[in-house]
Point group: C2
Chain length 278, copies 2
Amino acid sequence: MLKAVQILGWSSGLTIISQRLTKTRNSSSSSTISLKLSTFSSSPRRILSFIPTRMSSSQSGSDPLPKSQTFVSVQSSGDVRKIKFCQWCGGPTKHEIPDGEEKLRAICTHCGKIAYQNPKMVVGCLIVHEEKVLLCKRNIQPSHGLWTLPAGYLEVGESAAEGAMRETWEEAGATVEVISPFAQLDIPLIGQTYVIFLARLKNLDFAPGPESLECRLFGLDDIPFDSLAFSSIYVTLNLYLEDLKKGKVKFHYGTINKRPGSSPSDIRAFTLDYHLQP
Amino acid sequence: MLKAVQILGWSSGLTIISQRLTKTRNSSSSSTISLKLSTFSSSPRRILSFIPTRMSSSQSGSDPLPKSQTFVSVQSSGDVRKIKFCQWCGGPTKHEIPDGEEKLRAICTHCGKIAYQNPKMVVGCLIVHEEKVLLCKRNIQPSHGLWTLPAGYLEVGESAAEGAMRETWEEAGATVEVISPFAQLDIPLIGQTYVIFLARLKNLDFAPGPESLECRLFGLDDIPFDSLAFSSIYVTLNLYLEDLKKGKVKFHYGTINKRPGSSPSDIRAFTLDYHLQP
């Protein structure tokens, strides 16, 4: 039985960043910083018809956990207070803002090392075959039984494209060829960044891996938008359909800002900000 | 005085990925997986004139470490055997490949939790002003005294675009507006991914922060290619110049595969693979 725990901590990063960007600096500039970006807000279209209700940060939008029969999987992304010991020397940690920094860190009281936590990259493939897309029905929590693109955490030692192909093989048993980058979607609240590639099947053989119940090619009009697993997948598929309508598939950068406190199952409870294109 | 250690471990990931991609699966497919991507190799141009000598993995291509006066900064990216204790319960770890996985992990012998390690994102800005680009001369190791784009590790709680603006403010005292995504460059050997945005100055005030000795706008013909800090910066600037020659700036995805064993100072000792564009 899969025994898995995912730590998806609330982050105070946004507040702290704002503070640090508005403080004065010993420079020739006397101006303050504005966080307002040159945001090309989308024209009225499906992708912007999200329902801005509140949603919980817990697990929603998170990705398949590595499977394990005998161990506890933990993907920590931000809850620094849960780091109670130094992973290098075993000493107890204290939680302080180090000199010259602005964020709370876990600092070893014995050796002084800081345990930095950084966002994780989730890499996956948007596989298109004869105007159909390949989706996998999840066999693991969170979002068991809901549809997703084959995707998972990038590992050290592989490129994002390699990782996306590996995850596609593991979850869909599909041999694919990566064609081009399609989207980078940051989810600051849970410390994740989705990197999605357009890909094509090298042959028609595919079958669900252990983390999938089913894999299926969906016609573009039949995509199960009401049964998708994550906001990131909802955005990706909508952006792709919109690009097709416009006659040109482009690269998309965007930030998915989730609404704290709303239901994890409400994958439409967010805004897509900083939507930028080359 | 800055007391910093950076762990940049060798990864056995590539080998393991190859093994796992070629093994048979309980699926309808009897084919094996090929790692060969649809690589659009660049036409003969400056970007491909890299010298393919061997280089060391130690610190080359790594990023400014967070500054600290009193603590030891550690940015761990892959050397799992250095994780000797569980950061959650303090128990000693063992190093094994968990059931259902393929990579060596640090597993707590007390609570069973696995300490996953994932690549880190380095976010930065390619700031263009009147056909000049803004570079910073580094005041920290590695690559002290060499030129770089303002860039640093993405923090949990911020988007890549926000992180790139924050780093630009911290290192160059510059207020910028992010215009568009320009490049994602993976460096699998050291577990880093560079995400670079095109940006413009909101005013002409800029000045070096504590991690920079100097910040300067360089004309496109005067970029100090022989004094750049990292391969990722070398590639980014070359891609931008090539795009300008072609008359259109595009988004680039690519993998910088460094040559193990060569000098860290040889930033041209790599190949750019999987160069894909939308």
